[in-house]
């Protein structure tokens, strides 16, 4: 139930840019919404959005009553991109896990903060900033959380050498 409505709502974000690129052949894949096989992947919806669509996408989930599971990053060094992954899930029995991802260039990793929508994103974003150096524009307190407060390194970058 919620799966379809959320999918439609997220799909609407890409209404201007033609049909969703569900082809998955090209790598990196284009922006769009995919349904995934829950049995193998463990989540239902996989939406890749542009950074400026992020707040709109997260607002849709917020209004639909999703809770935030986690935020994390992936460093795609070969493609010179950085990916931020947002996990959402539901408390009710209408199980639906939604993954929102957005990609930013590696040399200028800036995405808008969603801590204005989900207060709990605060720490997750700080953690992602710690590990990847991804900046969350508008974050109220973007200082290292898990790393020492004077840390200027980002250990999960693929070119990080201890």
């Amino acid at each position: 139930m919620i799966l379809e409505t959320t999918q439609q709502a997220l799909q609407a974000l890409f209404a201007g840019s033609g049909p969703a690129d569900a082809a998955e052949a090209g790598s990196p894949r284009g922006n769009g919404v995919l349904t995934r096989d829950y049995k193998t992947h463990g989540y239902h919806l996989d939406a890749q959005v542009a950074p400026d669509q992020l707040l709109a996408a997260v607002t849709i989930l917020d209004q639909a009553g999703f809770f935030i599971e986690s935020i994390t990053g992936v460093d795609w060094i070969k493609e010179n991109q950085m990916e931020v992954i947002y996990d959402f899930s539901r408390y009710d029995f209408d199980t639906c896990r939604v993954v929102i991802r957005t990609r930013v260039p590696r040399d200028q990793p800036v995405v808008p903060t969603i801590s204005t929508i989900y207060a709990g994103a605060n720490w997750h974003e700080r953690e992602t900033h710690d590990f990847f150096g991804i900046k969350f524009a508008g974050h109220p307190h973007l200082v290292p959380l898990l790393l020492p407060e004077d840390a200027d390194f980002h250990p999960l970058l693929k070119d990080f050498k201890a």
């Binding site: 193998t40 207060a119 709990g120 720490w123 999960l156």
Partner: protein
Amino acid sequence: MSAPIQLRPDETFILNVGPQHPATHGVLRVKMEMDGEYIVKSETVLGYIHRMHEKMGENRTYAQYLPNLSRLDYLGALGYTHGHVLAIERAAGIEVPERAEYIRAITVELNRVASHLFWFGAFVMDLGGFSPLMYAIQDREHILDMLEAVTGARLTYCYYRFGGLYNDVDDDFIEAARRFIPRMRKSLKKYAALVTGNIIFQKRLEGIAPVSAEMCRKYGATGPVARGSGINFDVRKNEPYSVYPEFDFDIPVYHECDSMARYKVRMDEMEQSLRIIEQGLEKLPAGPIMAEKKPKNIKLPVGDFYQAVETARGSFGIRIVSDGDKNAYRLKLRSPTYSNMHLFDEACEGMLIMDALAFMGSLDLVIPEMDR
């Protein structure tokens, strides 16, 4: 019991609770801005025991990463290793024999009872009562003995393997577990009379530290914290995994949203876990404990895999981004107390420090799990 606070900022002082403080159960630091005994603002500082398990996940093969998972939460380690092996099995498409899954469920539930017992003792000790901790440890010791006889370790188990188990359980274990259940039920009655019914205890918890369901959602709180706020969410029921659909058990939910509700959820959960163990022992099928078709060196297909499990502290998630190699490209651990603790800063504003520390106890923190 929170009174309205109106004061000038120059009347407050900063109190550093931690990194070494009896109430933080580890190396957690909370910077509290205090007005007398009232908390005006608080900021939690993490990372004192951060070990970068996620980077280790990228450097080690999946099998080599197994021991790491039990170092996250030293009280309920099996739940976390369960999540890891399930994630790998899901991604690699390994079929696990039924007996192995039953044993996993039994041991995870035993571990959950052990974890809740220790939490119970530590929580009452936070409130100043010392003896219940010792009683809880006595009961927990039986569980640790049983688990030691099976897994070979007492706290940091490395028992589950991809596709099965490290070794099979024997009749002694089954016998010991059967004997344990009625004994534990008796103890739970004792705890109910000694602690839950106690007027001092009730006065300290009832109506204290309300966490609304909406707040849980915004912060992503799961586990007993969410269930104490009236949210009927348990990964074992919401997204059934392993053999949990085979068991008949309830998810205790309380709607009071206070520290007492969180306490009662955990106390009831122990009883439900005992029910699961009971049924598991009853239904335990014979058969192999290791999958027959299992690659020696596990490589996952390219892709992005997520597995959530319900640990003693809440929903633990593991996300594996694989590029087809024998170790993960990216491995993210979503730890439940990380989200649960996050709401502390907002929820404790205007509280008395002793209520706030009782509230912190009711969140069931395990710092290594939070800092990873």
